[in-house]
Symmetry: C2
Subunit: 341 residues, 2 copies
C-alpha cells in the first residue's frame, strides 16, 4: 500500500511524522508519501536518515505549499487553503497515487478535507471517528468518538453498521457485540436518542446487546459502543483524565508515606506496563468510517510510535477493503428495510 501522510499535522510535526514514517517502512512493506513543505521535509528526512537505516526509495516527499494549523477553524481553513498538506494528501488518494490518507493534524479540518475531496460512501450520511479504547482484556471500538455532536437515531444506526464492518473485517472479531452507551442496563433507561436508536438496532441483523454503561466499557462487555460524538468524546476525555488522576494520586500517596518509598521502582515497572496497555500511541489512529477512501486521523499529541501505528491501521484498512464491506452492509440493510415495509 502507498500511504499519504500529512507530514505537517500534529503538535510535534514534522519530526515525529518523519520518524513514524521511517518506523513504518522498516516494519511493513508499505510506502509512505510525506506531504508538506518540501524544503523543510527534505532537510528533516536527511537528518533522520543519519539515525535510521531504511529503504530510502520507499519514503517520497510530495510538496504542499500550505499548512492548516491545529487551532484553525476547520471549515474556513479547508475553504481557503487549497494547497494544504491535507488537501494534497486527499488529491493523491483521488488520483490513485496513494491508497490512504493519514493525518495527526487538526481533526476537524482533516475530516472536512476528507469529505470535500474523498466524498462519502454511497448511502452514508455522516462519517464517524471509530476510536479503539483499551479494556481489561483487549479493545473496544467507540463509534462516534467526536465527529458528530448532534445526531439522530438514523445516524447512530449507520455508526453501528460501519463500526461492525470495521470490527469484523479489519480487527477480525467474528460476531462483534454492539452496545449503545447509556445510563443503566435496562432497555427503558436512556435519553430519547438512545431509546429510539435501540428500536432501530433491534431490527438489524447486528449482534445488538442493548445498553452498556460507561463503567462497563473497560470491562470489555461490548466490542463496539455506539454513541453520538458529544457523549463519545466526553467518555474518552473523562477516561484519560481519570486514569491520569489515579496515577498521580498513587504516586503522591507513596511519596507521602516513607514506609512505601522502597516500592517506588517496582511500581514504576508495573505502571509502565499498564501505560503500554492503555496508551493511545499503541493504537495510533482512528479510521474515519464513511468517507469513500481509507482515512485515519490521529491525536495531535502523537509521537512517532503513534504515527507508525496510524500508518499501519490505514494500510490494514485499505488492504481489507473495509469501505467496500461498509457499502455492501448499508445496501443490504436498506434493501432488507424496503422489503419489510
Amino acid at each position: 500500500m502507498i500511504l499519504a501522510l500529512d507530514a505537517m499535522g500534529g503538535d510535534k510535526a514534522p519530526d515525529v511524522n518523519i520518524e513514524g514514517a521511517i518506523l513504518a517502512v522498516k516494519q511493513t512493506s508499505n510506502d509512505v508519501l510525506l506531504v508538506g513543505k518540501q524544503d523543510i521535509l527534505y532537510a528533516q528526512l536527511e537528518k533522520w536518515s543519519q539515525r535510521y537505516t531504511f529503504p530510502k526509495d520507499r519514503i517520497r516527499i510530495v510538496n504542499a505549499g500550505e499548512v492548516i494549523e491545529m487551532g484553525e477553524h476547520p471549515a474556513n481553513a479547508v475553504r481557503h487553503k487549497k494547497d494544504s498538506s491535507m488537501a494534497v494528501c486527499c488529491k493523491l488518494v483521488v488520483d490513485k497515487q496513494a491508497d490512504a490518507f493519514v493525518s495527526m493534524g487538526n481533526s476537524g479540518a482533516a475530516m472536512a478535507t476528507s469529505l470535500l475531496y474523498l466524498k462519502r460512501i454511497p448511502g452514508i450520511s455522516r462519517p464517524v471517528i471509530a476510536i479503539s479504547f483499551p479494556t481489561i482484556s483487549g479493545r473496544c471500538i467507540i463509534s462516534d468518538a467526536g465527529a458528530n455532536v448532534d445526531c439522530k437515531p438514523e445516524h447512530l444506526l449507520q455508526f453501528a453498521i460501519m463500526g461492525n464492518a470495521y470490527a469484523k473485517y479489519s480487527l477480525g472479531i467474528k460476531n462483534p457485540r454492539v452496545g449503545i452507551l447509556s445510563i443503566g442496563e435496562e432497555e427503558t433507561k436512556g435519553n430519547e436518542l438512545v431509546l429510539q436508536t435501540s428500536k432501530l438496532l433491534k431490527k438489524t441483523n447486528l449482534n445488538f446487546i442493548g445498553n452498556i454503561e460507561g463503567g462497563d466499557v473497560p470491562k470489555a462487555k461490548a466490542d463496539i459502543v455506539i454513541c453520538d460524538g458529544f457523549v463519545g468524546n466526553v467518555f474518552l476525555k473523562t477516561s484519560e483524565g481519570v486514569a491520569e488522576m489515579i496515577g498521580k494520586l498513587i504516586k503522591e500517596s507513596i511519596k507521602s508515606n516513607p514506609i512505601c518509598w522502597g516500592a517506588t521502582p517496582f511500581l514504576k515497572i508495573a505502571m509502565k506496563k499498564v501505560k503500554k496497555k492503555i496508551d493511545y500511541d499503541e493504537t495510533g489512529g482512528a479510521p474515519l468510517l464513511g468517507v469513500n477512501a481509507p482515512c485515519v486521523i490521529g491525536h495531535g499529541k502523537s509521537d512517532s510510535k503513534a504515527v507508525k501505528n496510524a500508518l499501519i491501521v490505514a494500510a490494514k484498512y485499505a488492504e481489507n477493503n473495509i469501505n467496500k464491506k461498509i457499502e455492501e452492509d448499508i445496501n443490504k440493510f436498506n434493501t432488507d428495510v424496503r422489503e419489510n415495509e
Copy 2:
C-alpha cells in the same frame, strides 16, 4: 436537626442504615428517625445496640408498611405504595416532624416520592442530583448526575444557579467556578445544548468559566460542572469504571512480574489512601437540589459510613437553609432578566 432516614432503602438495608444512623448520632447532635417495617427495625436496632454505646433516645423508629424495591419502576412504585418508607419519610418532613429526607434506595423512586410530597422550590422546573466528584485537590459538584436525561438550556441554567447556591452556602466555596461539560475548551465547541446554555450562563452573575472537558474535571478546573443528566451519568459511571480498571491492571501487572512482588504490601497501603480520597462513601450522598425540603439520595451500594455521611450532608443542608438561598437566587435571576428585557 431531625433526619428521616429510609431505613429499608439500599442494597444492604436495613443493616448499614441502622449502623450509619448510630454513627451519625454519635458524631453529631442530630436525631435520626428510622423509617420502615417496625418489627424488623426494633429487632435490628436491638442487635446493634449491643455493639455500640449511643444516646438511645436520639434514634426513634417510625413504622411504614411498604418497601419500594431497588429494581421497581419508580413512577409505578410511588403511585401504588402510599405507605412506603420513602413516602412516610417525606410525610414526616411535610408535617415538620423531620427536617430532611435521606434515602439509599431506588433513586428514581426517591426522586419521584420527593417531588410528589415535598414539591418543587417555586420557580424551579426540574430538580437535579448534585454529586460531589473527587478531584486531585478536593471535590467538584456535578449537576446533573442523572435526574434529567433530556434537557433544554433553561434547565441547565437552573442546574447552575442551584449548584452555585449549594457550593457557596453548604460547601463554603466563596466564588464557585461554574463550567459546562463539553468537548474542547473553545467556546465554539460543543453540541447545541451546550452552545445555547453557555449564552444564557454568560448573562448571569455566576462565575462562569466556559467549557470544561471531561478530563479536566479531575484536575479541579471547576467547582461546579453543569451537564444534562445523561451526560453527567455517563461521566460518573465512566470515571468509576476506569478507576477500577486501572487498579486491576496495576495489581495484575505486579502479580505477573516476580521482581515487583515485594512492592505489594506497600502498594496496598498507597491504594487504600487513594481509595479513601476517591471513595464514594466519604461523601455519602447527593442532595436533590430544587425539591422544596432538604433531600439527600445515596448510592444503593452504600455502607454504614456512606449512610452516616449522607445524614451529615442532609443536616448541613438543612442547617444552612440552602433551599431559601436557591429560591432567592432564582428570584433574583428572574427579576434581573425581566428588568433587562
